[in-house]
Amino acid sequence: MNKSENWYSEFSKHMILLFGTIIVILPFYLMLSFSFKSPAEIQSISGGFFGNQALMTDNRCLKAGKSKEACTMRPVIYNYSAAFSEAPLLRYLLNGVIVTLSIFFIQVIVALPCAYALAKLKFWGRDVVFGLVIFCLLIPVHAIALPLYLMLAKVGLTNTYASLVIPWTISVFGIFLMRQFFKTVPDDLIDAARMDGMSEFSIVWTVMLPTAIPALLAFGIFSVVAHWNDYFWPRVVITGDRDLMTPPLGLRMFKSDMDGNEYGPMMAAATVIVAPLVVAFLLAQRRFIEGITLTGMK
């Protein structure tokens, strides 16, 4: 193969990939663009990416009895300020942080000791417990959603933070993953710790935990991404109380309340919700791809 032929094939590959890139980027591009533009520009599909940013007057603000000056602003300012004022977006974001972090925290507290026992302690019934873990890996979340919802409703826990967290407190995948990891930790390390008189409890948290940071980080990324983005479960257990809604559910409510021209503020809210993970992903790509694919079996 000669050189020009090589470049020709490289060029055509880039052409195909660029076409794919356009389709993949398209909704992101439009989401951002809508969040910048005025309602009129959105309706008439004009104004390019950023819009003309001509001053606009917010009618709702006028109706609220404020002066015309206070209600006149650039569309981009209008969209983002409406996103935060029309809906409790800040509250949704805070809920998202509370829920995802509590889930991850509890998952680690439950999974780590269990994984350590399965990997490094010999006891009667260990294989049975491990078998149970493997069996539970087969159960998809959607298959337990309805009965779990009924159970939570029976004890009056729907519409609480607890209902958002409880189903995820047990991560059999986390146990499985950490057990495989702990298997590779040399026994000498644990024996040395025991000689020093450490209890099994402190071995887990002061010897095993630090060695497990890389695996834990991958699992953490997986867990946080999955639960920040989760829409199904919050939709099931949170039925009215806006103060408990997570970001995707809040955005969904925004959509069903929408009257006419709110595309701009809605896409501003969507941008704010999508941005944290996308930015984190761009900063630590390799780790994110590792975390999400390594744990892809869920």
């Binding site: 992101f28 439009l30 000791p113 829409y231 993970l277 079996m297």
Partner: protein, 317 residues
């Protein structure tokens, strides 16, 4: 240490949670699927197989199975082929592969619900750029003749595009015939980057020498080398990618709930959405549980197929 009882404290919380949160609910669903229970009712009646019979007989559930299976049969092949195709292209690039990899993985990371709404606006009949672009293509001669097929002698008005130019472009989510395809398109958009990364990992495990050996044995074209070396060596990746994608496709919910609510006329009435609508929104727990159990059966069959193939060692090492 074998005498110590610490292991009980270590495994007990996990065991209890597994039993209460994962195992027990499955039995609850199985039991309730034979009743007419509703949340808030004090009593319920045993109805034997009535709920399952309804699933087989009523037309709305027939539509449910057909919607779910069609979705899976569109999303799986497309996202697997696109994932493999882009992985092969990226691994053969001289430069720029990292950038494409990042971009193609973005949909996997981004909140699906938010992106679904962005897609809805993209394909909106009034404010959507998709139809606006198609419409402006009507005026461009080469595009028009390409899309309508008139370049090879077809009658322009016989094609959907020619018709669209005259009567207005399709309503992608509002048309009964197109809605499921549009939802599947979003599914493919979201899933193929994940498959691509799995295939890229699989490709790095293929030993370089095999390609040289194949070339010496007469595999002189790239296609032959692909068929003889790459494709079989990716065996484990194929099994993993296909089962994961199928299981995830069976679980589709976000896009349907946000964009079509199962409509128009049940065209996108997929299983998880039906389970949600019947079991939770309409409080028909019996039928919702029956859907849950059938759904579980589908997913278990897929997972066990995967385990079977993995144990048969579809790899060549």
């Amino acid at each position: 240490m074998t005498n110590s009882r610490t292991h009980i404290a270590f495994v007990a919380p996990a065991i209890i949670l597994m039993l209460v949160i994962l195992i027990f609910p499955v039995f609850v669903a199985a039991t309730l699927s034979f009743t007419d229970y509703s949340l808030g009712n004090k009593t319920f009646n045993w109805v034997s197989w009535e709920n399952y019979e309804a699933l087989l007989k009523r037309s709305s559930y027939k539509k449910m199975f057909s919607a779910s299976l069609t979705y899976v049969f569109i999303v799986v092949p497309f996202s697997v082929v696109l994932g493999l195709g882009s992985a092969l292209l990226l691994s053969s690039l001289r430069f720029g592969s990292e950038i494409y990899k990042t971009i193609f993985f973005l949909p996997v990371m981004a909140t699906l619900l938010a992106m679904a709404i962005a897609w809805e606006f993209t394909v909106d009949p009034i404010i959507g750029v998709a139809n606006a672009t198609l419409k402006s293509g009507c005026e461009v001669k080469w595009f028009y003749s390409l899309m309508t097929g008139s370049w090879r002698g077809g009658e322009p008005l016989d094609s959907w595009y020619g018709l669209g130019c005259v009567e207005g472009m399709p309503n992608w989510l509002g048309d009964r015939k197109l809605a499921l395809g549009t939802i599947s398109f979003i599914g493919v958009w979201q899933a193929f980057g994940f498959n691509m990364v799995l295939y890229l990992a699989g490709l790095t495990a293929v030993p370089r020498e095999l390609y040289n050996a194949a070339q010496m044995d007469g595999a002189d074209t790239a296609w032959k080398r692909f068929r003889l070396v790459t494709w079989p060596m990716l065996g484990p990746s194929h099994v993993f990618v296909v089962t994961i994608t199928s299981i995830r496709s069976f679980q589709v919910f976000d896009t349907v709930e946000a964009l079509t609510q199962g409509g128009p006329s049940k065209a996108t009435y997929v299983m998880v959405y039906a389970m949600f609508e019947k079991g939770i929104k309409q409080n028909l727990v019996g039928i919702g549980s029956a859907i849950t159990i059938v759904f579980l059966a589908f997913v278990l069959i897929l997972t066990l197929t995967q385990v079977y193939f993995v144990n048969r060692r579809v790899h060549y090492s």
